[in-house]
Amino acid sequence: MADSKDAGEEALRRLIATFQPSFLAPNPALSETSRAASRHLFSALRPFCPKSPLDQLLIDGFDAEQIWQQIDLQSQPLLSSLRRQVKHFAKNPEEISKLKVVPLGKKVEKEQREDWVEESDGFDEELEDDEEGEGKGGEEGMDIEDEDEEQGRESDNEEESEGEDEEEKGEDGEAGDGGIEDKFLKIDELAKYLEKEEENFEKAEEDTRGKKGADDEENTEDDDDDDEEEEEEEEESDEVSVLLGSIVSDFVLLCLHRMLSLDLAAKMQQGTWKMQGMDLFYGVFLTLEHCGWDEQFILLLRYEDFFGDKGKYSKKMKAQLHQESEGSDEEDDDMKFKKQNKGTASTHQKQLEKIHSKIEEMEKANLEPKTWTMQGEVTAAKRPKNSALEVDLDFEHNVRPAPVITEEVTASIEDMIKKRITEGNFNDVQKAPKLPSKVPREVKELDDNKSKKGLAEIYEQEYVEKEDPTSAPLSFRDEQKQQASVLFKKLGLKLDALAHFSFAPKPVIEDMSVQINVPALAMEEIAPVAVSDAAMLAPEEVFEGKGDIKEETELTKEERKRRRANKKRRFKAAAVKRMGKKVQEGALPNQMNG
């Protein structure tokens, strides 16, 4: 234990001694030391929080966030109880005097503290007050505690030198609630801690003071890591100091967290860990300090200087504080359980309180005017500028949205066009055929040409037509009609012949012509088949030969000879004739010439 304690202290000292801006860069060695230091502090504080589920801070293989959670688990209830006690003491200042005071250790502390004041810059009166408050009654091993406290405080101071503004805030807190409220400070946490500590205090007042003292004795050898927690323990009676301590504790916790999570800087670079408000402030503080700003001046800077409205927030936070101080601490089940055991407020009651608070909230919201999104028709004048951009508006679109033209869409359209062109299927507008309602009147057209008939003849014709209507000559139209009808009949005949079923016989054609060599079948057959000249005649009709007709191969030798002789004779006769003709012709021109 002592070794580990020593190691822890060593780690703490090393931490304190490190160059402060080095915390900003990821450093594995530094993180290791900080982890060891935090473990040391955790185990030192363990006796002061009986409800804590963890006996030791688990470091190996744990994430910075997880370590922080463990610390948080331990410190949260303590802080809330301390806050509650501070409040209590604020209301009943006479009780402060009832607290026990440890004179010896206190003086020593004071001396040491003064040293520290000289050492550390801008050390606060707050701490002095805290340490005064630390003189709690019932803590016997105060010296050792004080030592521890010293050391712890040393570390704390060193730690706190980074965050002196907290003390400032604590000072401000002294002045009143209005000064505390700051976004950097979490008032709800404050309230919770106060509650917790109130309970603790009540408990302690009854029987556990000595116990605590015993616990303190046991653990005095351990360094106090969180001076604040010790302070909380010790300063339970001192509401102010408790309050301050809680504030301080808050910040120190956060700084601790920061130390642990310096390796988070690496993560931040990776983008896996996001910087939070406190870290931002811490960074800002460091940089400002580095720039040479006066620390006191820096500490005077507050959240309001950086962001937001001052008055509103403070009022709001005041209200919250009041509300939540009454509420229970949900997060700490142990506390709840213990509260149940104590009987201060049953679970059911707490639930009811929660519900009531919720109801009040909701009623308040109902009374207030609604946001512009919940109001019906809102014109641009009634809502803040550019607020419509932040809201996800839903419109009913009557018009189909314009099609997004992608390559696929164009390709599909082009394919369709090509297909249509190849098919020849166009959507041309076709004129609807007008139904013939009545017989179209015969339009008599004006004849531009000179009439071939004389006037007398025209009248003559007219007279004749009048006398004898039948003898009316065919008009031009009628002639055309007749020609058309003749043509159609011819065509119709051919078409009917193709379709046998409905065949009509040949029409009587006026002009008679004798067809030679038409086979008898063609005349009678219903369907005239295509007839060629060859089929027209019978073989005998084609050739009339006399005698036995033999082919050349069938001939005997003698017959062949005979044929040849006949042929020669005929040829000779023809030749002679030709010669005779030629002679005659030749004679004539001779005669002419001659």
């Binding site: 008599k444 004006l446 004849d447 007398a456 009248y459």
Partner: protein, 211 residues
Amino acid sequence: MVLSSMEVEAAPSKAKPLPPKPMFEPLKPYEMSDGQFRKVSVPQHRYNPLKKALLDIYTPIYEQMKIDIRMNLKARKVELKMRPDTPDISNLQKCADFVHAFMIGFDVLDAIALLHLDELYVESFEIKDVKTLRGDHLSRAIGRLSGKGGKTKFAIENATKTRIVIADTKIHILESFANIKIVRDSLCRLIMGSPVGKVYSKLRAVTARLA
């Protein structure tokens, strides 16, 4: 005294019987038109056509109408005289009209209709009767009347069964009573300047109705 009955002298009333009413036979045309004849002057531009068509003119007049016809070359006139066997007194007038029509400018075949039909007549008027036009306007009016190649004129002729002769500023129409209005209307419209299409449409409507 006695009133004596007067002895009416019964004069032997040998009233002279009045001569019987003369029964005259109707006068023959020849006798009616005693010494009547018509003389139709021949304008110079119709001299040659007359020469060519003389026989065509002579034959129907002499043969069918039974009117004497002769050409007075010195006076440049066609003279028509009745013959004793002329059937009708109006023949002379008809023939005279026929010849006159020819002299105006109508064709023989057209003018012969005058001989055959009673209801045909010739009407003449001038452009200036319709509208006073001068110079180019006048020429244009004449052009409008005849149309390109005479087609407007022919269109009117064919539609209304008439014959039209446009001689410079004079217009002669050989028509029947039925078609007076149409022809005259169309021609007047054309003179006054309406477009040909309009005239055509009117003609079409009218002829459809008539036919």
